[in-house]
Symmetry: C2
Subunit: 301 residues, 2 copies
């Protein structure tokens, strides 16, 4: 476990995900090509593919097939990308740069950016249901339908949409740590947790394994968002591809803003430990997930 | 058939759909209540529920159960409503009124309107996959997954998104009738055709019945959009709840603008006839669909 090479693992998975995304979301030469190009601009903007990798890693833990979960792994990245495009819009967070490049609406205009987000969200669900996507390794319809339900719950009113509306509204009013946690769980945690659950469900995991991976996902999701907050305070803009301090400038309610950097680090550490603890029932197949959780505490971007 | 009471039929179905939507998309008292309220504002804005009714009517033709298709009927209306909210945005069609009421962004602001649309789109897919939605009449996962695929195809790059981007781009350039038809088939026709296909698929229709209902849907979808274009030229704003002539004012490329009112009426008539012809293999159970198609030629709103 000590010797697990997380960097090599992530690079390999990232390449596999990029290849699959290229296959599942190809460029278009039709009359609608602009919106497809816009969606692909953000989809292939150098994302770290954290959600797809978590999905693939969860499948590995329960001895599932990477081919069987790859369409879902891609769907998760598409939903993540849609949320970034819409969140960056001038009427939302009004961000001009993301991952060191101009945001979608700055390149394609707001109308096309909105449609590109809509497209990615729609096609993500389409991918989970497309017969062709699962030709390599057939997956029972029951499991794929369950994946649709998990993805919708994570992206919908109990998940990302709730997180984003609370985030928007909290910019202009005082909120406490409970609200910030409630928001984080939905805005970031829900899709990260869903990534693990979908990987498990599509692989036919037992209820016990599913619950363990889901618990890991909830804690890693929170740790991920909290360390993201920390990076905004302490991170190197060159490594992150966006300016540090942008949360504070927008009066975003973050952990560091509410409880200070030291306590925030303690909270992150605690969630990482609980995430790893959730994996106790698994053997070395869970080493990638353990290493991923630990990495959050030292990440630079 | 001559005596079929379409008005009563539509009223009854409309009420059933409204009740189901109330159940499947209830108000929220949580921190995210604003976005749910915004979505419900447009969802319950007096829509005619054409797509859900077509879905329910298709199920009747193949002797399916209304309860079994109702979640899908509601999902179709949710996707339709999402598209209206996003299309009305200032950066899209910039419409201030719809069905006689201020558009979503005029009441809730653009950020909430975008999120409300995202929410409706997401929850539509969630509804097709939610175990609880199908408790009344269990439907095999295989069929529900097929419904997800049909809905995604109609809403995605081969459907509504393509229609909307072509519509936006055609405002500033010359297009021919072929392009307008290509656009209409995607922007309006795809979801209408999907409504019939989903009603058929969830009811376990034969491939032959599915193909006939799909063909009906394609022609009715086109007739619906063409008569919509006609209403914009000839309609009574009081009945329609929006100003006539708004297409021309925005330089929208419509059938009347390209080939004149008389030929447009002929084309609409032709599509209605072909839609009814597609139902030849069905008995009196298809009377509602026949009456619905005929109604398009005399509709006032």
């Amino acid at each position: 476990m000590e010797s697990f090479d997380l960097k090599a693992y992530m690079l390999e998975k990232c390449q596999a995900v990029d290849e699959a995304l290229e296959r599942f979301f190809p460029a278009s030469s039709g009359l609608e090509k602009t919106v497809v190009e816009a969606a692909r601009y953000s989809l292939f903007a150098g994302g770290k593919r954290i959600r797809p990798i978590l999905c693939l890693a969860a499948a590995e833990v329960v001895e599932g097939s990477a081919n069987a979960v790859m369409p879902a792994a891609c769907a998760l990245e598409m939903v993540h990308t849609y949320s970034l495009i819409h969140d960056d819009l001038p009427v939302m967070d009004n961000d001009d740069f993301r991952r060191g490049r101009p945001t979608n609406h700055r390149v394609y205009g707001e109308a096309v950016a909105i449609l590109a987000g809509d497209l990615l969200l729609t096609e993500a669900f389409g991918l989970l249901a497309a017969p062709s996507a699962f030709e390599a390794v057939p997956v029972p319809a029951e499991r794929r339908l369950q994946a649709v339900a998990i993805l919708a719950r994570a992206a919908g009113v109990q998940g990302m949409i709730a997180g984003q509306i609370i985030d928007l509204e909290s910019e202009t009013r005082e909120v406490d740590l409970t609200t910030v946690e409630y928001m984080h769980i939905r805005k970031t945690g829900a899709l990260i947790s869903a990534s693990l659950e979908i990987g498990a469900v599509l692989s036919g995991a037992s209820a016990e394994a599913l619950e363990a991976l889901s618990r890991y996902g909830r804690h890693v999701g929170l740790a991920f968002q909290i360390t993201d907050d920390l990076l905004d305070v302490e991170g190197d803009p060159k490594v992150m591809g966006k300016s540090a301090g942008s949360d504070a400038a927008k009066n975003k309610k973050t952990y560091p803003a509410l409880v200070g950097v030291a306590l925030t680090k303690e909270i992150a550490q605690n969630h990482v430990e609980r995430a790893i603890k959730a994996l106790d029932g698994f053997g070395h197949q869970a080493d990638p997930l353990r290493a991923l959780a630990r990495h959050l505490l030292v990440r630079k971007a």
